[in-house]
């Protein structure tokens, strides 16, 4: 069981002006590029396959295999699209990475594009984070000026253009086909599959869509070899990942560690829970993953371990809630988010989230009856797996899991005629209030 941090992507974050090309090259940045160019593109794909890298955007699909799906005999252009539409509540790894070390991403984009033989790549960044858009734009500009992008990169004969695209503010655009719709200038709504993006994605051409962290991991794999990468992590979840701890821990932040680390270790690294409080519940990978409790402190945080516990590793967005938090209130807030972000295309998500919010709001105010919990579960059952894309599956996760673990707390709202918690006590400034 690994218990130490393995800073790779985050290693240079503390450097002076780490986001500049100079700082990045100082550390040997863009060195992996020449190593990749010396290889056949197919060999780069093979290396990534061998490394066991799985998608860091949540679903954990093997990255090398995804690249291998691109039909190389297709006469249409091929595209790499980086999904930087990080919008999940709790997820906060790509945005710090792009702020701290955008060149890691750019170098990864070049190597990945080279591997799949794309001459055009797009970085689709969540539109709300304008500072990140600017930082990545500047990094791409620097890379062009330094000859890392453009024509005949490093004399390899390989050309690549990168477009940094700012989204327009929709969570659904993190869904890869909705992202493609948005990138093509249309409304962000998911597309019917098949055809899959690997065959007919952006502009009906073969397209690979990868998460920021997946792409950013590629340079280190090429530089250090797939064996190095595969030596970390667990049997089926290899390598390292950024674990984002937020909430009621003493030192929230990014902790880069091998997959398979436990929450107990991570909380220790983060200085423990907030003084005088206990862990109550947590999300392993953002609000779309069913929440877990203190009994899951020792499960290995890899794809298999979290799956076995009835949740998903997701984006390793560990939102930590202590005993001051009302789980009903937290669940209601998440559900309001999904209602607001439902794209409207399919019925269960559009109408279901509308209704779920109404039922949860009533419960939080202590209105209704215990049978409403069964109604909620039945609604969730009618939504889960019935909708067009995974957004609605994520929307019901907090509800079903919170009722599973905290049914009594829901009932307490009804018996006490309202929320038994003082929301002020769960805030970061609890106990520090100044009374006028």
């Amino acid at each position: 069981m690994p218990d130490t941090l393995t800073p790779v992507l985050t290693d240079n974050w503390g450097d002076d002006r780490a986001w500049t090309l100079a700082a990045y090259t100082e550390r040997g940045g863009y060195g992996a590029l020449d190593k990749a160019f010396a290889m056949d593109p197919a060999a780069v794909i093979e290396t990534v396959k061998e490394s066991g890298l799985r998608g860091r955007g949540g679903a954990g699909f093997p990255t090398g295999m995804k690249w291998g799906f691109i039909p190389q005999d297709n006469p249409r252009p091929k595209y790499l699209v980086v999904n930087a539409d990080e919008s999940e509540p709790g997820t906060c790894k790509d945005i710090p990475l792009m702020m701290a070390s955008p060149h890691t991403l750019v170098e990864g984009v070049i190597i990945s594009s080279y591997a799949i033989r794309a001459n055009k790549a797009f970085i689709y960044i969540r539109g709300e984070v304008l500072h990140v858009v600017r930082r990545v734009q500047r990094a791409v500009q620097e890379a062009y000026l330094a000859g890392h992008l453009g024509k005949d990169i490093h004399g390899s004969g390989y050309d690549l253009d990168v477009v940094v695209h700012a989204g327009a503010g929709a969570y659904i655009c993190g869904e890869e086909t909705a992202l493609l719709e948005g990138l093509e200038g249309r409304r962000g709504q998911p597309r019917l599959r098949p055809p899959f993006p690997a065959v007919a994605g952006l502009y009906a051409s073969p397209t690979v869509i990868n998460n920021v962290e997946s792409i950013a991991s590629v340079p280190s794999i090429v530089a250090n070899g797939h064996g190095w990468f595969a030596s970390m992590g667990t049997e089926k979840s290899k390598g390292f990942g950024i674990f984002s701890l937020s909430g009621h821990v003493r030192r929230p932040g990014q902790y880069e560690a091998p997959l398979g680390i436990t929450l107990r270790t991570l909380i220790d690294l983060a200085g423990g829970m907030r003084e005088g409080h206990e862990l109550k519940f947590w999300t392993p990978g953002g609000s779309s993953t069913p929440l877990l409790t203190a009994e899951h402190l020792d499960i290995p945080l890899d794809f298999e371990g979290v799956g076995a516990a009835g949740s998903m590793l997701g984006t390793r967005a560990l939102q930590i809630f202590d005993d001051t938090t009302c789980v009903v209130r937290a669940t209601l807030r998440w559900t309001e988010f999904y209602k607001h972000e439902s794209c409207g295309k399919c019925t269960p998500c559009r109408e279901g989230t509308w209704w779920l919010v109404q039922v949860l709001s009533a419960l939080e105010k202590g209105q209704g009856s215990e049978s409403d919990l069964d109604l909620l579960l039945d609604q969730c059952d009618n939504i889960l797996g019935r909708s067009f894309c995974a957004l609605a599956d994520g929307a019901v996760s907090p509800i079903t899991s919170s009722i599973q673990y905290f049914r009594d707390e829901y009932v307490a709202h009804l018996t006490e005629g309202g929320c038994p918690f003082d929301p002020a006590r769960s805030t970061a400034w609890a106990g520090q209030e100044v009374l006028a």
């Binding site: 019917l192 295309k345 109408e351 989230t353 009533a362 059952d381 009618n382 019935r386 067009f388």
Partner: protein, 816 residues
């Protein structure tokens, strides 16, 4: 897509325990229909691309054909069948049934309970499927759920209204507009439960096919200004019929109540109109109930028309005609085939003349010869052939305006993806219209008058690849271009391409078949052929006149000069004719005019006897499509005072016979006329040949003849006039629905960018018949060509400006 794809590879699967084989790529939802299971659905429509949005059609798939099942229910509208697949629908699977009930419950939470006042109530897929696949009571409202509400309906066009509350966001309307009509002026906007159908104010939802969105809306979200709140579906009686507005023969359903048509819907005929109709076919029925509708016969006495009884009118008409000397017959293009046959027989049997012509629009002798040689009895091209053709050449035809169903077929054919791509559309026209762009078509830019040369040139131009897999569609407008129809026939003969003639009016082709032409007798029998005359004469018991008659222009001229004294006119608008002023003058000059009309017109005002005729809703009949396909229909209403043309002609003929002139027609009813037509059958002898193919090869010289009298040089300010009728225009059969008319396109004059720059945004066109001022729009026309819509302003181009192909001058219009 409605026609079962021609695929021999079948896939065998099991649905609800029943094994069946269906063609590969069939969707599960449609395979299920074959075992008698209707899976509920909203967004699914067999003619639209699958979208999988409403999720109502979820089914359980325990085996996808590979031994593994889907863990969750699947949308059967997006799932193609697979060999060995096992599907359990709501009929056998509790999982599927619960999934469907869950979706239905979600759909209803934000749907208003206004079924009692909703137009769709009683024929509503949501209402019906909520009963069959939903819960008995609402858990949402029982717990005080709050519905999303909107202000009541908003106009998305003058005709189409949207109740956003009722919308279930299935996207059928938006997909229809984008995929089928090619008018993507409505789209879903906003997100989540606030998603709604929206428009972009600066590009209004002006589509000739917008009414179809109302019909395919699975709820009452889309309604028409015309029908909204007018009746309940269960109070209506439905009668299948055929649309009377163009030569497409679209199947329609007429819904009526207490003797009044309340609305018309598209019928489902995969071989003809699939499930679509034009807005003209849908909303154009109020003409029959306009206040100027004629309801009783009238005769002229002391210069004034006065009401008369039917027998008196018959007698007066017969006496007048018997004393008028030579009499011609003008039938117009709106009559049914049976009525056309009656006119044809009336001319020959009662009046003893071949002076009959259905062409109440510019025409030529060449056209009459072309119709006899290349059109009558021919059934060489069908709608399906348009889809399988490699190339379709359009000449003198703008399908979006003049034959809506041809337009939709060509758009479907041209947009079809897959092996070998779709049908290529090549249009010989003055400019690339929006309709041509929607058919992904290619323009052979041709100035009016040069069509013959353009057609002849297609043989030489290999790039167009005209061969026997191609189809040539020629419009009736080509008659105004000397040599063009011959050139089209020549092109077909040389390349093996199939040729079809597409008229504008529903009765045109039937009139050709019935012999409403000076050179043709019924069944394609040439007047010039003695054998054919004997054949007809033997049936009719008369000697058919030997000499070919006068065409419509000839009849008008002869009336003017006094060579003819009488004229029988049915359904002709003088403003449609070659020379409206001449037609009016001829009616004045005629010694005796018998008019058979629906409504008061310039013809009835000039007539000596006026007979009211039945509108198509009041009589049985047959329209013959441009393909030559007979489309019989039955009467919707039986109104004893509303007689078909043939009954009136029979009455006059009987009175004439009593005066010793001619013989009676021998039939009084549509059924009797039909029987006689069938008995006579088609001509099996030699058909007429198109006189001298050398005419086809001299298009340039004939073009100059046409331009005689006008300056032939392209001097500054002289423009060749190109024109056709827009689908929605001032035609009298479109009267009575303001909302419908408002969805038409505003009249503009189209000029080349150079000419536009020279003459500005408003232009005044002056021709030999008058001047009109119109807003101008630049388009890719030749610098010396101007296009205007034929009947969208004043009395139309023919009456107010000049004849098509002639030259007009353009001046900067008055500032507006």
């Amino acid at each position: 897509m409605t026609t079962v794809p021609e695929k021999t590879d079948l896939v065998t699967l099991t649905i609800d325990g029943v094994q069946l084989s269906v063609p590969k790529d069939t969707l599960v939802i449609r395979a299920a229909e074959q075992v008698g299971v209707q899976v509920p659905r909203f967004c699914d429509h067999p003619l639209l691309a699958p979208v999988g949005a409403c999720r109502q059609c979820l089914v359980d798939v325990p085996d996808a054909g590979n031994g593994r099942g889907f863990p969750k229910p699947q949308a059967s509208c997006t799932l193609p069948v697979a060999e060995g697949m096992v599907v359990n629908t709501q009929a056998t699977s509790p999982v599927a049934d619960k999934a469907q009930q869950g979706i239905m419950e979600f759909l209803l939470i934000n749907h208003p309970l206004d079924c009692p006042v909703c137009d769709k109530g009683g024929e509503c897929p949501l209402q019906n499927q909520a009963m069959s696949n939903g819960r008995a009571d609402s858990r949402f409202s029982a717990r005080g759920g709050v519905k999303r509400t909107y202000p009541k309906p908003i106009n998305i066009s003058a005709q189409v209204l949207l109740d956003r509350e009722r919308c279930v966001l299935c996207a059928r309307c938006t997909r229809f507009s984008e995929q089928i009509a090619g008018d993507p002026f409505i789209a879903l906007v906003e997100r989540g439960a606030l998603q709604q159908v929206g428009i972009y104010e600066r590009e209004p939802f002006e589509s000739y096919f917008s009414g179809n969105t109302i019909q395919i809306c699975p709820v009452g979200a889309l309604t028409s200004a015309d029908y909204r709140f007018r009746s309940r579906p269960f109070d209506l009686v439905s009668t299948p019929s055929v649309a009377e507005h163009d030569a497409c023969g679209s199947a329609i359903r007429i819904d009526h109540r207490r003797g009044k048509v309340m609305r018309r819907l598209a019928g489902n005929d995969p071989e003809v109109n699939e499930e679509w109709i034009t807005d003209k076919d849908r909303f154009g029925f109020h003409y029959a109930t306009e206040p100027d509708r004629l309801t009783y016969p009238q005769i002229r006495e002391d210069g004034e028309l006065r009401p008369a009884s039917w027998p008196e009118a018959f007698a007066v008409a017969a006496r007048g005609l018997s004393e008028a000397g030579g009499t011609g017959v003008l039938t117009g293009g709106r009559v049914t085939a049976e009525d056309a046959y009656a006119y044809s027989k009336f001319a020959r049997v009662a009046l003893g003349t071949n002076d009959i012509d259905f062409r109440s629009r510019p025409h030529s002798a060449e056209e009459a010869a072309f119709l006899a040689a290349e059109v009558v009895l021919r059934r060489t091209v069908t709608y399906a052939d348009l889809e399988s053709a490699s190339t379709v050449v359009l000449a003198g035809l703008e399908p979006e305006d003049e034959a809506g169903m041809i337009f939709l077929r060509l758009r479907k054919a041209a947009g079809r993806a897959g092996s070998g791509g779709g049908t290529r559309v090549v249009s010989i026209a003055p400019y690339a219209s929006r309709g041509l762009a929607k058919m992904h078509g290619q323009l052979v830019r041709t100035a009016p008058g040069d069509e013959a040369a353009a057609l002849a040139a297609l043989v030489a131009q290999g790039e167009f690849g005209i061969d026997k897999t191609a189809v040539i569609l020629v419009g009736e407008r080509l008659a105004t271009v000397p040599g063009a129809l011959s050139a089209a026939a020549g092109l077909a003969a040389r390349t093996g391409a199939r040729l079809a003639w597409v008229p504008r009016r529903a009765g045109d082709r039937g009139a050709v078949e019935a012999g409403c032409l000076p050179n043709l007798l019924p069944g394609g029998r040439p007047v010039a052929d003695a054998g054919a005359r004997v054949d007809v004469g033997a049936d009719w018991g008369v000697d058919v006149p030997e000499t070919p008659g006068r065409d419509a222009d000839g009849i008008i001229a002869a009336l003017g000069s006094g060579e003819l004294g009488g004229v029988v006119v049915g359904g002709v608008d003088p403003d449609d004719t070659t020379d409206p002023a001449a037609t009016r003058a001829a009616l004045e000059a005629a010694s005796f005019v018998v008019a058979l009309e629906l409504r008061e017109t310039d013809v009835t005002r000039a007539a000596d006897v006026v007979f009211p005729v039945a509108p198509v809703s009041d009589k049985a009949g047959t329209f013959v499509t441009w393909e030559g396909r007979p489309r019989p229909f039955e009467a919707v209403f039986s109104s004893p005072s509303s007689l078909p043309d043939l009954r009136i002609l029979a009455g006059i003929a009987e009175e004439l016979s009593a005066l010793g002139v001619g013989r009676p027609l021998g039939f009084r009813t549509v059924a009797e006329a039909r029987a006689e037509m069938e008995e006579m059958g088609p001509w099996d002898g030699e058909r007429a040949v198109l006189g001298g193919s050398e005419t086809a090869l001299r298009p340039s010289s004939t073009t100059e003849e046409a331009g005689a009298g006008a300056p032939s040089s392209t001097t500054e300010g002289h423009f060749a006039l190109a024109t056709w009728k827009l689908m929605i225009d001032n035609g009298s059969l479109q009267d009575g629905d303001k909302a419908y008319r408002a969805t038409g396109r505003a009249p503009v004059a189209r000029l080349s960018p150079t000419a536009y720059d020279a003459h500005g945004p408003t232009v005044t066109l002056t021709g030999d018949r008058g001047s009109v001022t119109l807003p101008a729009e630049p388009a890719e026309l030749d610098d010396d060509v101007v296009w205007v819509p034929a009947n969208s302003f004043g009395n139309g181009v023919l009456a107010d400006l000049a004849s098509p192909g002639s030259r007009v001058t353009i001046a900067k219009g008055a500032d507006q």
